[in-house]
């Protein structure tokens, strides 16, 4: 895989309890990214926040029923990222999808060779 110069960063924000076809939405998105052969995807869990539903999402230490905010970050060439958008339209029922331009400085594989 090759990734250099100008690229696009896609960030998707939603809640941890959001689901897609009987699995957590964030897992479904990461699997979709792999399926589409995107360079990478990372899921982050936030501590507190509010968003599209304007409810405060908070992960409580005591209750396991938390709905923490989740952010999935995907970076690849713009045309590759665009391929993901139609699927997100379908999968993300409530949330935010944002795109921003980035410059790739380094993208390296296991054995340290540069691409």
């Amino acid at each position: 895989m090759k990734l250099e110069g100008k690229a696009t960063m896609l960030r998707i924000h939603f809640g941890e309890s959001d689901r897609w076809q009987d699995q957590p939405l964030y897992r479904a998105i990461v699997e979709k990214c792999r399926e589409l052969d995107l360079a990478g995807a990372t899921v982050f869990r936030g501590v507190e926040g509010y968003g599209a539903s304007t409810l405060i999402r908070r992960s409580h230490l005591l209750s396991f029923s938390s709905d923490a905010p989740i952010m999935v970050s995907v970076i690849d060439a713009e045309d590759k990222v665009q391929k993901l958008l139609p699927f997100l339209d379908e999968m993300v029922a409530q949330g935010l999808v944002a795109i921003s331009p980035v410059e790739v400085i380094k993208y390296v594989h296991q054995h340290g060779q540069r691409c």
Binding site: M1, L3, A7, M9, Y26, R27, V30, C33, R34, A39, G40, A41, T42, V43, F44, R45, T54, L55, I56, S73, I75, S100, P101, V102, E103, V104, I105, K106, Y107, V108, H109, Q110, G112
Partner: protein, 244 residues
């Protein structure tokens, strides 16, 4: 800060059970007033009452319907009240808002404890900068030390303005390995992201060091506008003592 002279007194009547975006209206209004810098507000709970729906609300034990009347009061300058009213209007729902002219004879004062903190306003600095994001794995090492920790130390040593390390819960990257935080196996190779902000020049100067340290991963750069809040250190010169 409220000063002596003409002012407005706002009284809002709502039900204790009324909801605004999933929480009680009165706590939502109180938070709104607090964060909009209103100098003070009180919430009072009534014992019994009725409102627009002409339904009697009481606290008698035999009637457990609840939804007691709640009264929220605050006093502010006419301009401030004018600013707040549209949002309050939206928040009260079926409740009532009353506005009265009033006269502040003596404004309340902040307690001495709060006043002892220097009220130096934060300096706001804006400008163009770069945001660098580094995606690596939690288990990546650099000289037997976690790579993310080594990177933070190295940035500190190179006077980079600031860095924050985020731990992901799931992800895959350059080597197509799925990094997962799973409760069942404690292998813990979670994805990590370092977010670094500084000027382009300083970040570019750091690339050589970064190149030597990051054996696998992704580094991206994006343009950002910095809006920074800093304190004026001229009084205490706290910065000096922070730097060994």
């Amino acid at each position: 800060m409220l000063t002596a002279g003409p002012a407005k007194k706002v009284t809002i009547y709502v039900g204790e059970d009324h909801k605004y975006h999933g929480r009680t209206v009165y706590s939502a209004i109180l938070d709104f007033l607090f964060y909009r810098g209103v100098s003070g507000a009180s919430v009072l709970r009534g014992v019994a009452g009725f409102g627009a729906d002409h339904h009697m609300h009481t606290a008698r034990v035999e009637v457990l319907t609840g939804n007691l009347p709640i009264k929220i009061e605050f006093i502010e300058s006419p301009q401030k009240v004018e600013e707040l009213l549209p949002k309050l209007h939206e928040m009260v729902g079926s409740g009532l808002i009353e506005l009265q002219d009033t006269m502040v004879v003596k404004p309340s004062e902040a307690s001495k404890k709060g006043a002892s903190r220097p009220s130096v306003p934060a300096l706001r600095r804006e400008g163009k900068a770069k945001l660098m994001r580094i995606f690596i794995g939690e288990n990546d090492k650099w000289h037997d030390k976690p790579l993310y920790k080594a990177l933070v130390e190295s940035m500190r040593a190179n006077d980079i303005a600031g860095v924050t390390v985020y731990q992901g819960i799931l992800g895959y990257g350059a080597n197509r390995r799925i990094h997962k935080d799973s409760a069942l196996h404690l292998s813990h190779d979670r994805p990590m992201m370092l977010s670094v902000v500084d000027t382009e020049q300083k970040l570019r100067a750091f690339f050589a060091i970064l190149d030597a340290m990051v054996q696998q991963g992704l580094v991206v750069l994006s343009d950002i506008d910095v809006i920074r809040y800093t304190h004026d250190y001229s009084e205490g010169e706290r910065r000096k003592e922070a730097r060994p």
